[in-house]
Subunit: 310 residues, 2 copies
């Protein structure tokens, strides 16, 4: 066991807690592993929506209103792409596009996504360690009432409207955890599951071979519910879980982490679910999981860290 | 002979006359062939500086102050690329970058540069036919006092400061004229050499195998001097010609087109060069070659067209 705190994150929900953690944990010890199941090509550019959201958040560049994209953003390039009759349903700002152009170029030069992420983060002054879940391509694909959709198609183009029958992580079976992820899996002193969508954000991370097995050997594994009173704090988690035939509840999220989670933090509203969660071998714990202000984020981070045992 | 008017153009100088011509010639008959020796990759994107300048000019999108780039342009993406420590000496605006992103994507999809150019032009409402000189890569390379430089390195990064010893068109020997170019070469009713740099803009076009030979069989071949009184109207033509050991004069430009040019239009100031030009088998003709206003451009275009014989 080293001092590393492994944090598994998706996009906006994940980045909120990550920001709280980055404010209280020594940057050298905070290893953030981000979902790349949403990664996609737009206009030939490699876009990593969740990596971008976490990066922009930690660099203080994020749009505080949306949670994704950059603050003070302009969309001149996209306007021009529209004139060229390109498909422009995926919103890409001018500053944001610099990230995708740079990432694509560095990947084409033969660097891994981990190396590229490190380079981008260092350029914009991010001290903590952010890495993709894998350097291989894993694509979250949804079988829906509107056909087979990739994540951003479902999320942005179709606004989460189609009914989802199945979620798959294509490429996952042959992917490996990125080196930073694997190192943390081999001895992190604690693991935090951010309040991200268990199927669309943390699901892809957990689908990579060896990940669940290695997590089962760690301790201080703490998850935060993205659901309060049966409703997702944000995003389509609740609708999606129902469509997949699951109950939309914090307990159901906890169940997804059965065997790899010690403590599951829920809202006061969900205290009645405690016995069910306990039966899974997970300790339910009421905590301040709703994060709006920076103070909320730091509060939750401190609450989580206070649960760690040596 | 068909009704096609083949126009050979470089960047800013070329685009001025092209705009004049587009105002008076039936768009279906105006075939503009543009130098692509300046084409280069920036941030992994295929930039065609001269094609862009001609396109933006004809679409009414060009920056009237610089002659290149777009009007009302912003540079937010480039600012962000700077933060990512990318090399940003080549000015790329946000709107302009849409062109490069779209072109690069369409090329990667397997389209030829001719096809891509056609598609871009049609999207922004350009009716006349613009095509690259070739669909193969031809790169203008300069041997200089600062080492071997590609065109934009020489032009933008080094601001034309290095002394040029040699100009080469790398890839030219195996390149072919684009289909549109070849069709015009096989029977245009007239050919216009825009007042572009004879070595850096029209040189690459003329270096492609078969081009000079086919031009030698055409008639109504009219060139416009880019030099007045020994000085280039714009750009480094004068400095470059001197460095290459040539006299910096309209006559020297005419000499570059010997055997493929019938009429060479010069400024009043250069009327004393008429005997020398005549000796080359080219008819010197004083005309309104200085183009500032749109009226000037149309005037010169009309003057040229009035020289055509059946």
């Amino acid at each position: 066991m080293d001092g590393k705190i492994l944090t598994l994150a998706g996009g906006v929900g994940g980045s909120k807690l990550v920001l709280g953690l980055a404010n209280i944990i020594d940057k050298n010890n905070l290893q953030i592993i981000v979902n790349t199941g949403d990664d996609d090509l737009f206009h030939g550019l490699h876009v990593s929506p969740d990596l971008d959201t976490v990066m922009y958040t930690l660099a203080g560049l994020a749009n505080p209103e949306t949670g994704w994209g950059m603050a003070h953003e302009t969309f001149n390039l996209l306007d021009m792409l529209k004139r060229y009759q390109a498909e422009t349903w995926f919103n890409l700002g001018d500053h944001d596009l610099a990230t995708h152009i740079r990432r694509t170029q560095l990947l084409r030069e033969g660097k891994s996504l981990s190396e590229v992420t490190l380079e981008l983060c260092s350029s914009i002054g991010i001290g903590c360690q952010i890495a993709p879940m894998s350097d291989q391509k894993v694509t979250t694909v949804l079988e829906t009432s509107s056909g087979t959709l990739r994540m951003q198609e479902y999320f942005v183009k179709h606004q989460c409207q189609p009914i989802v029958n199945k979620v798959e992580y294509v490429g996952s079976e042959t992917a490996e955890p990125s080196r930073a992820f694997d190192e943390s899996l081999n001895g992190a002193m604690a693991t935090i599951f951010c309040p991200s969508n268990p199927f669309l954000s943390l699901g892809p991370i957990l689908s990579i071979p060896t990940v669940k097995h290695k997590l089962s050997n760690l301790k201080n594994r703490i998850a935060v519910s993205p659901i309060i009173g049966g409703k997702a704090i944000r995003g389509p988690a609740s609708k999606l879980m129902t469509e997949l035939g699951y109950e939309s509840s914090a307990a159901q999220v906890a169940y997804q982490y059965k065997g790899i989670c010690d403590v599951f933090i829920i809202a006061e509203e969900d205290v009645h679910l405690s016995p069910v969660i306990l039966e899974m071998g997970i300790e339910p714990l009421v905590g301040p999981i709703l994060m709006n202000t920076l103070e909320d984020k730091i509060n939750l981070a401190e609450f989580i860290v206070s649960q760690f045992n040596d």
